[in-house]
């Protein structure tokens, strides 16, 4: 029994921290937020050099062969910096290819994903925002040697930056998954305007997009269980990112509370302020424990749904509270565009329902436990 990170993992964390502090401090994040480009290619190639996209990809395909808990180390630090990047979306897509793809498919896509030359993302959700298999209604129709995909995907993470979309479609009464080049004929990517500008997502319309049977990943109509499993891993990475963001919001508020004086003393001396901050730390430590465990569970448990749901639900609570309180502690300054507090708050609003709301995950937890 050992519930802590190894020396290697701590080293990775320190490396990530140093990189983000020097290459992507908050004013850089703000530039990226304001930019029109789908993502920052310069930063992407630097993290590719550091091996971040390769982290969880198996060694035979040019990856580092590390575990999901290693990715979570990066995710937490990314959240702390609100680092805008398709990295996690790509890691989830690579996980899907590794778990469901044939050897040929893995050899075709994973080495490029590991080197950073290919950015892939999952396109599963549709307008219903239904997270179950029933939410997948996009039609796959066999047409001789080809399959035609028609329908519309919503909330596709970083589709703007993607080269490859892994599109879930209804086929044979079940869900199939197809690899679709993002620039294929009939694919239209329309960016969504998000409350949280550190993130990117798009609506993706497919109009009779033709793919080969060889582009189907996994058996026809049987993709859902593995797909759902990979999405759960993604939810854990997201929750780790949220914990990092919550911690950054808390630290910002704590530092301000130490220096801002009213009534002749630092406001951090008033219990109305310090007690709320203490409670947020309890939320953060609690969700950290749940997230770290869930990151282990997705690689080691048969059915990690309960662990994942608890992590996501609690991380939402932590970031919601940290985001809101972070603004309040700053007073009117907290309402300004210039103060960073709102960036964490907006991230919290966005992430709360991403991968399922706390209410959704509470319900799913009980179902997973047979209740």
């Amino acid at each position: 029994m050992d519930f802590g990170f190894s020396a290697d993992q701590e080293q990775l964390r320190a490396q990530v921290r140093r990189f983000l502090d020097s290459e992507c401090p908050m004013d850089r994040v703000r530039q990226i937020m304001a930019a029109k480009e789908p993502h920052d290619r310069g930063l992407w190639s630097k993290i590719a050099e550091l091996g971040w996209p390769a982290l969880t990809i198996a060694e035979p395909y040019g990856g580092l062969g590390l575990a999901w808990e290693d990715l979570v180390v990066i995710a937490e630090e990314m959240g702390r910096s609100l680092f805008p990047s398709p990295l996690l979306a790509g890691a989830v897509a690579a996980r899907v290819i590794a778990q469901m793809g044939s050897e040929g498919q893995q050899a075709r896509w994973l080495p490029q994903a590991a080197s950073g030359d290919l950015i892939a993302t999952l396109a599963v959700l549709e307008e219903s925002d239904d997270l179950s298999a029933a939410g997948v209604q996009l039609v796959a129709e066999t047409n001789g040697e080809q399959v035609l995909l028609s329908g519309r995907k919503m909330f596709v993470a970083h589709a703007q930056a993607a080269d490859l979309l892994l599109v879930a479609a209804r086929e044979h009464g079940g869900v199939s998954l197809f690899a679709v080049p993002a620039h294929a004929a009939g694919v239209t990517v329309t960016p969504l305007r998000l409350i949280d500008r550190s993130q990117r997502a798009a609506m993706v319309a497919l109009e009779a997009v033709a793919v080969d049977h060889a582009d189907r990943i996994g058996a026809p109509g049987a993709a859902w269980p593995d797909l759902a499993g990979a999405m759960d891993a993604g939810t854990v990475a997201l929750a780790a990112e949220m914990v990092g963001a919550a911690d950054a919001a808390l630290r910002l508020a704590v530092e301000y509370a130490k220096v801002r004086k009213q009534f002749g003393q630092p406001i951090g001396r008033f219990q109305g302020v310090k007690h709320r901050l203490a409670e947020i730390l309890v939320d953060i430590e609690s969700s950290r424990s749940l997230v770290y465990f869930a990151s282990w569970a997705v690689d080691h448990q048969q059915d990690p749904r309960a662990a994942v749901s608890m992590a996501k639900a609690y991380a939402s609570q932590a970031l919601d509270r940290a985001g809101e309180e972070g603004i309040q502690v700053h007073g009117a300054i907290g309402f300004t565009w210039e103060c960073d507090a709102h960036l964490y708050y907006k991230h919290g609003r966005y992430c709360r329902n991403l991968g399922g709301s706390p209410e959704y995950h509470h319900e799913r937890l009980l179902v997973a436990q047979g209740l």
Binding site: M1, F3, G4, K274, A278, S286, R288, S289
Partner: protein, 402 residues
């Protein structure tokens, strides 16, 4: 990360299970074992002979004072084995792992850390064997959260201290042979420095105990008066003026024992059973979406407590000291203690008003007792506001408010 156990640890778990199957006084059913009716104080007293046999069986195994050093008579066990032992006995709903509750939770650790060789020999075996019970004399009428303001005094007279003053809220005072007592020995010193810790026999001349009845109808604690009580100097724990350090150590132990999760895990199981058997609006309460949300949130908090406990345990295994961190789980538990009772009574509906002994009372009034006893865990060991202060000041570095 690694959540597996070694072969040796698994063997130990089997040994614990076998031991419990043979010695657990709650084995083979009974209300306490089914989680339908708590061990309240009265029934614990009725079962005393059985409990003493349990303690003795544990002692023979070296499982009381499990991780205490062998030199003092402890088990010399590792932290992981200790966790396994607690998990398994919790799961089996066995009584506490040793009856001398405060002796084991913080008096013993205090004596081991600060005591003389003679004190260790004198007190530790009796704690292990449950021959002597301890109570804790910190709080006074004028000193609760602000413990360091305490006024009960001890004046040196030759090779004795003479104690005069009053303590209050002293749990188990009327059943204890000994008290760990904080007194002021130097009124001129700064308030934290003038405090000394004494070990006082409760049958000393001049000690008077007046029980206090609590809101749940039980009598768990008492006022204790000291009228020129004389205790020998060798009963001092630590140096004169070192009492505050001794207490800080003890409080961290008390908080971490309150922050433990096994009791919460059992409560949750029982709550789940309750939600299945109670009806609300014509269906089982477990099908009510509001109940489900609340139950899931509680489960999530309990799991967080469990995992945070493991994370801190790992830190200890790697050689780090755990201090203010225990306040994190103490605060979580405070919230849970209140919410568990509230949710249970909400689930029971009208039946939530029926207490032990009433026709129609559910689970023999267990949840009513819970709903009337939470202050023990929430207020005892330091109130939530004090935990928040500890976290804000020691973990976040915010300024002291007082």
């Amino acid at each position: 990360m690694d959540f597996s156990f070694s072969e040796r640890e698994e063997a130990f778990r089997r040994e614990v299970r076998e031991f419990l199957a043979a010695n657990n006084p709650n084995r083979g059913g009974g209300a306490a074992a089914r989680g339908e009716g708590e061990d309240d104080l009265e029934s614990a007293m009725d079962r005393l002979p059985k409990l003493l046999a349990w303690n003795q069986a544990l002692v023979e195994k070296g499982w009381v004072g499990f991780h205490w050093p062998r030199e003092v008579g402890g088990g010399g066990g590792g932290l992981i084995e200790q966790m396994i032992l607690k998990q398994e006995s919790g799961k089996a709903r066995a009584p506490m792992l040793g009856l001398s509750y405060m002796g084991l939770a913080w008096v013993g650790p205090g004596i081991i850390k600060y005591g003389t060789e003679q004190q260790k020999r004198r007190f530790i075996p009796a704690i292990l064997e449950a021959r002597e019970h301890w109570c804790t004399g910190y709080s006074e009428p004028g000193s609760g959260s602000d413990l360091a303001s305490l006024r009960c005094s001890a004046v040196r007279d030759g090779d004795h201290y003479v104690i005069s003053g009053q303590k209050t809220w002293t749990s188990l005072a009327m059943w204890s042979q000994w008290m760990i007592l904080l007194v002021r020995t130097d009124p001129a010193a700064p308030k934290h420095r003038g405090i000394t810790c004494l070990l006082v026999p409760m049958d000393a001349a001049g000690v008077e105990v007046r029980p206090i009845k609590a809101m749940n109808g039980e009598t768990p604690f008492a006022e204790v008066f000291f009228n020129d009580v004389r205790v020998p100097v060798e009963n001092r724990l630590g140096a004169e003026g070192q009492g505050w350090d001794v207490t800080k150590h003890a409080l961290a132990n008390e908080r971490s024992s309150i922050a433990e999760v096994t009791a919460m895990v059992n409560h949750l199981d029982d709550l789940e059973r309750l939600a299945k058997k109670c009806k609300s609006n014509g269906r089982a309460a477990i099908e009510d979406p509001l109940v489900r949300q609340r139950l899931a949130r509680m489960k999530t908090m309990v799991e967080a407590m469990r995992l945070t406990g493991l994370r801190f345990l790992t830190k200890q295994l790697r050689g780090d000291e755990i201090g203010a961190e225990t306040s994190v789980n103490k605060l979580l538990r405070a919230e849970l203690e209140v919410e568990i009772g509230r949710l249970a009574l909400d689930i029971e509906g009208r039946y939530g008003a029926l207490v032990k002994g009433s026709p129609g009372a559910i689970d023999n009034g267990k949840w009513q007792r819970q709903a009337l006893t939470w202050p023990s865990y929430v207020i005892g060991g330091g109130t939530p506001n004090i935990q928040r202060n500890v976290i804000a000041e020691r973990l976040l570095g915010l300024p002291h408010d007082v």
